[in-house]
Amino acid sequence: MDVDSLWTSILGEIELETSRASFASFFHGTRIARLENNLVEISCPNQASAIMLGSRFRPLLLSLLKTRLGKEPLFRFVVEPKKISPDKAGPLFASSQADFEKAFQKTGLNPNYTLENFAVSESNQMAHAAAQAVAKTPGKAYNPLFLWGSVGVGKTHLMQALGREALLKTPHLKLIYCTGEEFTNGIIEAIRNRSTAEFKKAYRTAKFLLVDDIQFIAGRESVQMEFFHTFNSIVQAGGQVVLTSDKPPKEIDKLEARLRSRFEGGLTIDISPQNFELRTAILLIKASARGINLPIETAKLLAASFEDVRALEGAFLRFLTEKGKGEDDDRAVARVVSQNSLLLQQKKLAQPERVLEIFASHFSLSPQVFLGDRRKREIVRPRQLLMYVLRQEMGLSYQEIGLFLGGRDHTTVLHGVEKITSLLPKNPTLRDDLSVLRRVLWG
C-alpha cells in the first residue's frame, strides 16, 4: 500500500471520530512525508498545526498506524515549508515573473540549462562556484570569467545557466548571449550592410555579455579588434563578460596579444571531463527531467560504459527504446552497450591485433596469454575487457571475437562482455584501466 492511500485511509477513520470542523482545520494539507523502516514522518503545512496534531491526535494516530503497519512505529511531525510561486505571491511579484519571461525569451538562452540541474563534482565545482558568484554580483567579482574545457564537459550549460540566474535576479538586465561564430558573422554582416554603428551600439551597451566558444574569433583581425573594443566598453561601464573556449587563453592560436592579456586578466577556470560518479548523476538528472524513474544501478551501468556525455545521452535514448520493446533493464543496457555505433565507424579501421598488443603491454601479459586457456582471475579479467572493447568499441561480432581469441565460443564472448558491463559500475580500477586503454587506442 503506498503512503498516499495509507494516509487517506487513516484520515478516513479519523474523520469518523472528530467533528467536521476539527478535521478540516487540523488535517488539511497533511500527508505522510516519509515511511521507512519503523519511522513515519507526517508533514504539516505549518508549525502550529504540527503542534496541534501532536497534542490532540498522537494516541489516535499511533493506534491507527499500529493497526495498519503491524507494529507501533516511531512517528513525528515535520513541517514542510512551501515556496510561494511568484505569480501566487501577488501582482507585485507576478509582473516581475512576466518581465523575466519576456526578457529571457529575447536572449535566446535555453531554459533547460539551469544552475539547479547542473551536476557538480570536483571536476567542475570551482567553475560552478565562480558562476554563482558572478550571477550574484555581476561586474564586481571576476571580469572576464573565462571557462575552458574540452568538448562535452558542460561549458555551455554552465554559461547559459549563469545568464539565466543573473536575469532572474534582475529581469531588466541588458544581457546578450551569442557564440563566437555569431559574433563573427554579425560583425561581417554589419560591415557588408554598413550597419556597424547599430552593431556596436547593440553589443557595447550590454551590461552582461556571454560569448560561447570565443576561440572562433582567433585569426580574424577585424573581428578581434571589434571584440576588443566591445569588451572594454562593457567592462568600463561596470558590466560583466563571461567567455567559454576549448583552450585556455595562452593556448589559443592567433589570438591578439592584447585580447589574450584581457582574457587572462580575469578568472580562468578549467572544467575537466566528468568522472563516473558525475556521469551517473547527470544521467539521473536527465532521466528525472523526462519524468522517468531510472534505477541507480541501471544509471551506473550506462555511465560506466560511456565516457562521453553526449554518447551517454544517446545511449540513454537507445536504452529507452529497448525498454519500450519490453526488455528488462540489464538486457536493454547490454544491447545498448554493444551497439555503440557512434564510434564504430572510426574504430572499424583499427586492427584487432594492434588492440591486443596494447592490452598486452598495459597488463604486462604476453599476447599469447590472451588467446590461451588460462583461467586465473588476473588473466580472465583483461581477456574479458579485451572482448568488451572489441565488441563495444569496434563492433566485431561475437563470433569474430571468439575466433580471434583462440577459437572461443561466441557465448563465452557474450558472457565476457556482459560480465564487464556489470562490473564497471562497481570497480573503479577496471574503469580506470578502460579509460587509459581507450586513450591509448584512439587518442
Binding site: S22, N46, I51, M52, V79, P86, L92, F93, F100, K169
Partner: protein
C-alpha cells in the same frame, strides 16, 4: 501558592498578556488560561497561542510558591472590576481565591492538561536595536499580509547584511522596505517574524521601555526576546520570503514631490467616490500639479489638484486608495516623493530626503474608456 500584588500593576500586565491569547480558531483548551507560576522569588504569568508565548514578571509579595491555571477571560473581568490597591491571591483545591478590600471571589480552575512549557535558555542573546524595531513597526509592519494561507507574507523579514539591517514586509500588492546601519551585535542573519509577534513586541516596548535582548532558539525555528520583566517567545515563519529584490524598480520616468498632507486629503476625498469602483483612484501627474480623480456611476465624481514639483514624463496611473492612504497615514513628514516607470509599473513612494526607506505599490490597470 499565595501572593499579594497591586491591582493597578496586575491589570496592566493582564491586559498586555491578553494580546497573546489565542484568537479565533480551534486550539487546545489549556491555552485559554493564564498560567501563574510563583517560584524562585518571582511571580510569573504566562499567556500564549500556538505561535507566541508571553511571560511577564509581576512585582509583589510572595508568601508561598506554586502554580495554577486560571481561565483568562474570567480573571480579566474580575480584575477590571476590582478597586485599585492590594489584591490577595490564594490557590485552593479546584479554585483560585482573590481577595480585595471588600470582596472575595473564587474562580474555578482547571486541572488535567498541562500548560505547554517551552524553556528558552537565553543562550547567545544579544541586545536588540529597539529604535530600529520601532521604526520598522511604524513604517513597515502595516504592509504585511493578513492572509494565513500564504504564511510567508504574514511576516516581517529582518535581514542583516554587510553592516546593514533591513526590515521588509509585503502582501503581494505593496511592499515596505527599511534599511539602516546595523547597531546590533552578532545574532541572526535572516528571520521572518510573524506580524502579530512584532506587534506584541512593540506593545511591550511601548509599555515597559526596558532594554531588550534577542536570541534564536531551537535551530532557528523560534526566537526569544528578553527583558528584565518580560520573555516573549515566538515561532518564526519557516516559509521562504519572496525575493523582493527582483521587483524593486531601478529607474523611473516620472518623479514628483508633493505635500504629504495635501495628498492625504485629496486621496481621502477621492475615496468617497471610489468605494464603489473597487477603490480605484486615478493620479494625473503633470509639470506643476498632481490631480487625484475618482468617479463612480452611482455616487458621483471628484477632482482635486495639488501643487507638485515634477521631473520627467507626464503620467496617468491608478491605485487602490487604501494602499495610498495607509502609506500616507503612516508618516508625518512634510513632503512625499513618488517615482514611476509608467502607468503599469510599480510605484515607489518615499519621504523627501529620507534614506534607506521606500514603499512600493502596484498600480491598478485602468479600463480603456
Amino acid at each position: 501558592m499565595v501572593f499579594v500584588v497591586l491591582q493597578e500593576n496586575l491589570i496592566k500586565t493582564a491586559n498586555l498578556l491578553t494580546r497573546a491569547l489565542p484568537g479565533r480558531g480551534l486550539v487546545p483548551a489549556v491555552l485559554n488560561n493564564f498560567f501563574f507560576r510563583v517560584s524562585q522569588g518571582k511571580i510569573n504569568i504566562t499567556a500564549g497561542n500556538l505561535e507566541a508565548t508571553l511571560t511577564k514578571i509581576l512585582p509583589g509579595k510572595i508568601e508561598e510558591e506554586g502554580e495554577v491555571l486560571v481561565p483568562a477571560k474570567t480573571l480579566l473581568s474580575v480584575l477590571s472590576s476590582l478597586p485599585a490597591g492590594k489584591v490577595y491571591f490564594k490557590k485552593e483545591k479546584g479554585a483560585l481565591v482573590i481577595k480585595s478590600e471588600n470582596s472575595e471571589s473564587q474562580i474555578k480552575t482547571e486541572t488535567g492538561e498541562e500548560y505547554p512549557q517551552n524553556e528558552s535558555n537565553e543562550e547567545g542573546k544579544v541586545a536588540v536595536d529597539t529604535a530600529f524595531l520601532k521604526e520598522a513597526g511604524k513604517k513597515v509592519l502595516f504592509s504585511a499580509s493578513e492572509d494565513e494561507t500564504r504564511a510567508a507574507l504574514t511576516g516581517v523579514l529582518f535581514e542583516r547584511e554587510a553592516g546593514k539591517i533591513r526590515a521588509v514586509a509585503t502582501d503581494g500588492f505593496r511592499l515596505s522596505f527599511l534599511e539602516k546601519k546595523d547597531k546590533s551585535a552578532a545574532g541572526f542573519d535572516k528571520i521572518l517574524l510573524p506580524k502579530t509577534t512584532l506587534a506584541l513586541l512593540l506593545q511591550i516596548l511601548e509599555e515597559d521601555g526596558e532594554e531588550m535582548s534577542v536570541a534564536l532558539e531551537d535551530g532557528k525555528k523560534r526566537v526569544g526576546f528578553f527583558s528584565k520583566t518580560t520573555k516573549l517567545s515566538s515561532l518564526l515563519i519557516q516559509e521562504d520570503f519572496p525575493d523582493y529584490r527582483k521587483i524593486v524598480p531601478q529607474e523611473y520616468e516620472t518623479k514628483t514631490t508633493v505635500s504629504r498632507q495635501e495628498m492625504e486629503e485629496a486621496v481621502r476625498l477621492g475615496a468617497v467616490f471610489a468605494r464603489e469602483v473597487a477603490n480605484i483612484v486615478r493620479l494625473k501627474i503633470e509639470k506643476n500639479k498632481l490631480t487625484v480623480l475618482s468617479n463612480s456611476p452611482q455616487t458621483g465624481a471628484v477632482k482635486t489638484a495639488i501643487k507638485a514639483e515634477t521631473e520627467g514624463e507626464i503620467l496617468e496611473t491608478a491605485f487602490n486608495y487604501r494602499f495610498l492612504l495607509e502609506f500616507l497615514k503612516s508618516r508625518n513628514e512634510e513632503e512625499v516623493v513618488f517615482e514611476s516607470g509608467g502607468a503599469l509599473a510599480p510605484g515607489v513612494f518615499k519621504t523627501k530626503k529620507e534614506e534607506g526607506f521606500f514603499h512600493i505599490i502596484m498600480p491598478v490597470r485602468l479600463q480603456e474608456e
